[in-house]
Assembly symmetry: C2
Homo-oligomer: 575 residues x 2
């Protein structure tokens, strides 16, 4: 078995990591109120792979032999469990289908190339033998970027790049590193940190996603305010195509026509396979603080976030949870287990009392976290500017205690989703970006859209949101929604998800700020980039891949699984 780290086959992340609610006294009551269920103790520690009913590999001996000749027998895998690990990403519907034994088209083989030359040979073989290749990073996609098309009749090969996991060189003067595409976040940071550097790119999926995956799906990390989206971070790359390797040298900026770099970023495997990248790296910041602030209302908090960016404070991140997410966040606090924590909890109670005395509606208050990095005096100066801005918007500074908590918990959320699934509850996310002037409307309309779906389904549903990723002209709004599902889960999910996505577009937001398109969001591409824009992009894919050998059906022309289940009840969108 190849020496590559995989996620568990039946859910997010690693075995034996669980979300626990028993030590969080406010959590069960919130869930009861939010989605109407009584939480039960967790039953599921793991799922026996023997329960999986896996469609057999359809690979021919001849194709198998060809793959083995390219990557070696050890790195050509037909094993059922690994094929299931590679059959999909980790969207909530992927996991439900997996748990319910509703596999669609499962890859016939998984290969683990050990060099760019091997990737080149695989890509050539794909064209010669009419195979379908799907590049696989950490498998964390929640936009269905990794599934073969259900109707695919040709041999499907998942190309796991996990062996290409080295930081190859660091240009310490220019702050550039050349890194192989298959490296997982923690492995990469460890290699960089060892030499005093960091990429500064920390998406929620960080522990289980790769640099190449971030590139191919237009990822953005929680610290993008300082370190940039992945498109800013990437300065050059190698991408393997049937005709050869597209080599984009590391350049701070260039005027060489339409940007090939920006074509490969977000291409989700449709233009070829990215094998290595030149990326901007930064010296690890001398000093770092995350400060929490509490705002009396969402609107004041949102205004403060905008003004912080406008004031050119250059924070590392600035995010604010709306009232619902604030409530949720507080409900996931652990009960105090030590004297120190009891004192802290009493401090918190005292704070709430202060707020009530000030006339706050504590059910409307919103928590914000702002991260500052730099030299100590620089951090102090930035904090002061931010303190002035938030004060004018009525906020109280909570200090660095909750901020430190935020920093520790940031990658844990997806495990909660798996826990909820066992409880019969879907918890999922949808995110967008929009100009500052439209954020309030987007937020309001998405709430209404989700509620309309919940009402239609006769369910008690939950939605909450935060704003993060500030830009000159706008920001990201990130929504989490939840509801109890039934046997009719496909239709239930499709209704809620499509209503939310449509609300994004109708209010001037984009179909996704940083989760990519995959098959999940492709129904909105025409509305987002216009029909003529889709036509031009389709032309690019056709000219780049006339035989549809490279992850076909992603970004554009995807098999529809959302509107199709809705049938005539759908929102009437053109596919």
């Amino acid at each position: 078995m190849p020496n590559v780290k995989h996620q568990k086959w039946w859910g997010w992340g690693e075995e034996n990591v669980f979300f626990t609610w028993e030590n969080k006294p406010a959590f069960a009551p919130l869930v009861k109120r939010a989605v109407g269920i009584d939480l039960r103790p967790r039953q599921r520690d793991t799922v026996d792979f023997a329960t999986a009913d896996v469609p057999g590999s359809q690979i021919s001996d001849d194709d198998l032999q060809a793959l083995r000749e390219i990557v070696g027998a050890t790195h050509t895998v037909l094993d059922d469990e690994l094929r299931i690990v590679h059959w999909a990403g980790k969207s909530v519907t992927d996991i439900i289908k997996t748990l319910q034994n509703r596999f669609e088209r499962v890859p016939d083989a998984v290969v683990y190339p050990g060099s760019e030359d091997e990737v080149q040979a695989l890509v050539k073989a794909a064209v010669e033998r009419d195979l379908v290749l799907i590049p696989f990073g950490g498998g964390s996609s929640i936009s269905r970027s990794l599934q073969p098309r259900p109707e695919e009749t040709r041999t499907v090969v998942s190309v796991n790049l996990g062996r290409l996991n080295q930081v190859l060189e660091i240009d310490e003067v220019s702050g550039l590193a050349r890194i192989q595409a298959g490296v997982l976040g923690p492995d990469m940071e460890e290699q960089l940190n060892g030499r005093g550097w960091t990429l500064g790119h920390f998406p929620d999926s960080f522990n289980h996603s790769t640099l190449g995956g971030w590139a191919a799906t237009r990822s953005s990390g929680m610290q993008s305010d300082k370190y940039g989206d992945i498109a800013d971070i990437i300065r050059g790359m190698n991408a393997v195509r049937p005709g050869g390797v597209v080599k984009l040298r590391p350049l701070p900026s260039t005027s060489t026509g339409p940007s090939l770099r920006e074509m490969f970023i977000g291409s989700e495997g449709r233009l070829g396979i990215i094998t290595e990248l030149w990326v901007q790296v930064h010296r690890i910041a001398e000093h770092r603080e995350v400060i929490a602030y509490m705002f009396p209302t969402w609107q004041q908090g949102l205004t403060a976030m905008r003004l912080i960016h406008e004031a050119e404070v250059h924070t590392t991140f600035a995010r604010i949870s709306d009232a619902r997410e604030t409530e949720f966040s507080l409900a996931t606090q652990k009960a105090p287990t030590s004297l120190k924590k009891t004192v802290a909890a009493k401090g918190q109670d005292a704070l709430w009392a202060v707020m009530r005395r000030r006339g706050w509606d504590t059910s409307a208050m919103c928590i914000a976290y702002v991260c500052f990095e730099g030299a100590k005096d620089d951090v102090a100066r930035k904090k002061k500017v931010v303190a002035g801005i938030v004060k004018k918007q009525g906020a109280l500074t909570l200090g660095s205690g909750p901020g430190a908590l935020y920093d520790q918990k940031k990658f844990d959320t997806p495990y909660l989703r798996d826990f909820l699934l066992e409880q019969g509850v879907i918890g999922d996310v949808s995110e967008t970006a929009a100009p500052w002037a439209r954020l309030t409307t987007v937020h309001k309309n998405v709430y209404e859209a989700a509620q309309s779906a919940f009402d239609e389904l006769g369910k008690t549903g939950w939605i909450m949101s935060h704003m993060s990723h500030s830009y000159h002209s706008g920001a990201c709004l990130y929504f989490t929604f939840a509801f109890e599902f039934t046997e009719d889960v496909d239709r239930e999910y499709a209704l809620v998800k499509t209503r939310i996505q449509q609300a994004f577009i109708d209010a001037g937001g984009t179909l996704s700020h940083h989760h990519g398109v995959g098959a999940e969001h492709s129904p909105w591409m025409e509305q987002d980039v216009s029909p003529e824009g889709v036509e031009l992009m389709r032309g690019l894919f056709r000219t780049a891949d006339p035989g549809e050998n490279f992850n076909p059906g992603k970004v554009l022309d995807s098999p529809d699984t959302l509107f199709k289940v809705l049938g005539s009840e759908g929102s009437g969108q053109e596919q």
Copy 2:
């Protein structure tokens, strides 16, 4: 005649604006030493258009009628002078050919559409009638982006967008403006400034270039450190194609697959015609200062510029001239004409004396300008950080006097080129970007490459450079070169230019940081973005424009006029 501002037909900019050397005592001696000629008084105030021998329009009555029906008779122009204004950009070879009556393929008509609908009708007519359309902004291209292919036999129509010159709306909350593509820099800034806003984009061509032109050629303004390259500034756009309008809504960031926005930016008309843009606009800075510093050496200055960026000072620009350009800059100072200026000049002499006492080789010293914007205390703080950095690199702070001078002179340089042409001297520019670690080598190698060409031509030649446009990972190096030309000017120019361009690429730089590709730089595309990258881009152009109706021969597959003239003496590069 359409109410649109044009540049003069025989050179840069406006009639009756001239470079004058008689009041600059150090200038003539420098020119003598640099290129070996004795300056004569300017003879040429203008050039009579009657001396131009203009190829006639080849448009058919039928095509002419069709154009008139779309844009109206007033806005369909066959006038010879306007056809010559639109036949080329303003590269030095364009101007030489124009002055020498060596016109190649001149557009058969110039049209001035007044709306996006008219542009749409033109684009459709181009496909139906097999016309060639070349979008025309301010006509300032120095990369041959505007010439028809010399061998073009079809009807060629230059599409001047000058009537589309309005700021249509400003979203004051999001800092976004929707602006028509044909607006000239000063006209746009006037409209924005009137409402308290600025784009902050000031390329050298600012007075004679348009927003759409900046988009189509991947422009960068001198204040890009703060305001971004044009690709950062543009957040959405309308681009007209035969099948309809690609509409990209204004978004701070998005995850919608390969970036269509970044495909149109730099597309030089090959994917369609850009009609309007959503751009980031900024409140006019409260306070602005440009401070000059003098460094003992180029290397120390370059290091300081890098450290300023690394320290996250967030300057508006930071540029440093090398020793040659510093000398040139000082040589264009006017003789003092008032007591105040005499005192200032004496102050300067005193400063030189200080430097000599410190042991500086004054022929090696390099002048830098750093621009600070913001609230007064913010500017003061930034200045202090920069003062600390430059001091460690041995620099003296010259203060804001020379800085103010720089701010005033910034758009005047191209007139110098026209003046030199009359003196028989080519003065031209070539610029690149490269990682910080490579800048010293690029600089050194370009000097050697230019010298090798001068030697080969048996000429006294001149080259000088500055660094500007800082990024995390590198910066732009901008070179100006000059030599006396003969009747063999095509070969002389080609030799010097190709040697410089090749030195860029060989040392890890790009073929251009912000002048676009056009036909001039296309021979280096394969070396810059790799042969397979070119192949992919070629596929995009073919799928977008199978009939080659939209500015064919730009960016890729351009008619070769550099290596062809060099023949076997060329650098042996693949075309």
